[in-house]
């Protein structure tokens, strides 16, 4: 009978950190605003993964409930973000972030 040994928590931390860094890096270098939204979503999901991993590590369901909160807030944030994006697109006819140069000084 195959026995499964639990995966070490370190691997989860490394994986989540990697995903988070990829997302953060994407926010900094990408110019397309839709991709920016996706990168932020990736960062939030890295956090979710980390939370769930710690939750099972400590045998404590609090972090899993926190993940629900994060999912709900991320949905609300994406709604607002996409609406603002559409608002901006109507006026600027582009979703490239580098056209934003009206505000300066």
């Amino acid at each position: 009978m195959p026995t499964s040994t639990p995966i070490n928590i370190d691997f989860y931390i490394i994986l989540a950190t990697l995903l988070f860094v990829i997302g953060a890096f994407g926010v900094m270098i990408r110019r397309n605003m839709i991709v920016l939204l996706m990168c932020i979503e990736l960062m939030l999901n890295a956090v979710n993964l980390l939370m769930v991993a710690f939750s099972s590590y400590y045998n404590n369901a609090d972090a899993q409930i926190f993940v629900f909160f994060i999912i709900v807030v991320a949905a609300a944030e994406a709604t607002v973000g996409l609406s603002i994006l559409i608002l901006a697109y109507r006026q600027l006819r582009s979703i490239d972030i580098s056209i934003f140069n009206k505000l300066k000084g």
Partner: protein
């Protein structure tokens, strides 16, 4: 907790009142809700509530209650101030007020938080309506751009904050701030997770309050938003964000001081000078307020370093004075037609209209820290707290106040210039109310020291 529910329900009601397109109705119902919430907060702890707030991990100590009262008053003033400018476009005043109510709900959650659930939810409820409010000037390109910038920087900060919270949970196994504080005190935590986590949470909050090195969004966002929204951001949002930061560093990470003290030291010193040095050459009231807001944030951050009793009322007085001065300046700036270059247009307004002149005098003297106004007492007490432990910081704070005084006195002379190209200004009831209340707060606000 009752007050928080009352404000939330008021927001919902005014969302529905939006159907009738009657700004006066929306304003009245909101002010009614706000005064109910004010009364409930005033009586906080003296009556038995059905909704026990510690079930929801909301606990308001002395300065928490004062700051909640303050943010309710400030929001009421912002609503009155916005009544004139926003009701020109009669269709959406009620929507904007309801967004402000929802945001205020978040601010109150953030002021009284006792675990990371309430902290995170409060911060998000505070920020998300403000993203919408910033973009609420329809058909204005600057507004759309500001909203996008604010949204992206804000949600990036949220992601960093969440990663920090996850790491702190990983280090201690709890979200409750008392348990985390106890774990740190007794050494029962994983330092490899705890210290990056604490630093990430600190960075995210510095982002939200607009301190160096995360200050770059403030000037652009402030410039793009309408004046009432800007007033809301520099009062309620700032109050809640700064107080949450002070509580967090004091209650939870206070015993990890060695790890973040140097970082914060540098942050505060640069923040103190950066704001005023950039404010000197600004041509518009919005940008000037944005940069002077950065330096004022620096002074408010001193209360983290003091390590004194964190229920202290010093930060309350300081935030009260800053918010009230910003309100006066913004109400006066509303009289200008030209958005980009309004300071030139307002030249001599204080000389022509003595009522506005006196209010401007009080606001600017209070901002520059001249007695006997609230701003002086706020600054004095905050600087006094750090004088013994961090003399360098207090010297820097005083020096930056001197630069600030130069900026504000120059502005004051500009307002009292005899020659002016000022067009006729029509004082309206709303702005008179706001200016009077804000000036009274500036004159007598420091009396809360003796409550």
């Amino acid at each position: 907790m009752d007050a928080v529910v009352v404000i939330f329900v008021t927001g919902l009601i005014s969302l529905f009142l939006g159907m009738y397109h009657k700004p006066m109705l929306a304003l009245t119902s909101n002010l009614l809700g706000l005064s109910t919430a004010f009364t409930l907060f005033f009586l906080y702890g003296t009556y038995n509530s059905v909704l026990k707030s510690h079930f929801f991990s909301l606990v308001y100590d002395g300065s928490g209650v004062l700051l909640s009262l303050l943010s309710i008053v400030m929001t009421a003033l912002v609503l009155i101030m916005g009544y004139n400018s926003q009701s020109k476009d009669r269709s959406n005043y009620a929507d904007l007020t309801s967004l402000m109510m929802f945001s205020l709900t978040g601010a109150l959650c953030l002021i009284g938080f006792r675990d990371f659930f309430m902290f995170f939810i409060g911060l998000e409820i505070l920020s998300i309506p403000v993203y919408v409010l910033v973009g609420s000037r329809r058909g204005n390109q600057a507004s759309a751009e500001a909203a996008l910038k604010y949204f992206f920087t804000g949600s990036f900060a949220t992601a960093i904050l969440l990663f920090g919270i996850a790491l702190v949970f990983g280090a201690t196994g709890s979200f409750n701030i008392n348990e985390i504080g106890f774990a740190i005190l007794s050494g029962l935590y994983t330092p490899e997770l705890m210290i990056p986590g604490a630093l990430m949470i600190l960075a995210a909050l510095l982002f939200k309050v607009g301190a160096f090195p995360f200050h770059f969004w403030t000037a652009d966002v402030y410039e793009g938003s309408s004046k009432p929204v800007l007033a809301y951001m520099s009062t309620t949002v700032k109050i809640a964000g700064l107080f949450a930061l002070v509580q967090l560093m004091g209650l939870i990470f206070g015993n990890l001081k060695g790890n973040w003290e140097m970082v914060l030291y540098v942050v505060i010193i640069v923040t103190l000078f950066l704001g005023y040095l950039s404010a000197i050459q600004q041509k518009s009231m919005k940008r000037l307020l944005a940069y002077s807001g950065i330096s004022n944030t620096g002074i408010a951050l001193l209360s983290i370093m003091s390590g004194a009793d964190h229920g202290s009322r010093n930060i309350v007085i300081f935030l009260l004075a800053y918010g009230a001065s910003a309100l006066v300046l913004l109400v006066v700036a509303q009289f200008a037609q030209d958005e980009e270059n309004d300071l030139e247009e307002l030249k001599g307004i204080g000389y022509r209209y003595p009522f506005l002149g006196i209010a401007l005098l009080i606001a600017l003297l209070s901002l520059s820290g001249i007695p006997p106004f609230s701003g002086f007492f706020g600054k004095l007490l905050l600087i006094q707290d750090v004088l013994v432990n961090h003399p360098v910081l207090s010297i820097c704070a005083v020096l930056s106040s001197v630069i600030g005084a130069y900026v504000y006195i120059k502005l004051l002379l500009h307002f009292f210039h005899k020659e002016s190209t000022l067009k006729d200004v029509r004082l309206n009831v709303a702005s008179i109310i706001v200016i009077t209340v804000a000036s009274l707060l500036l004159i007598g606000g420091w009396l809360i020291l003796y409550i």
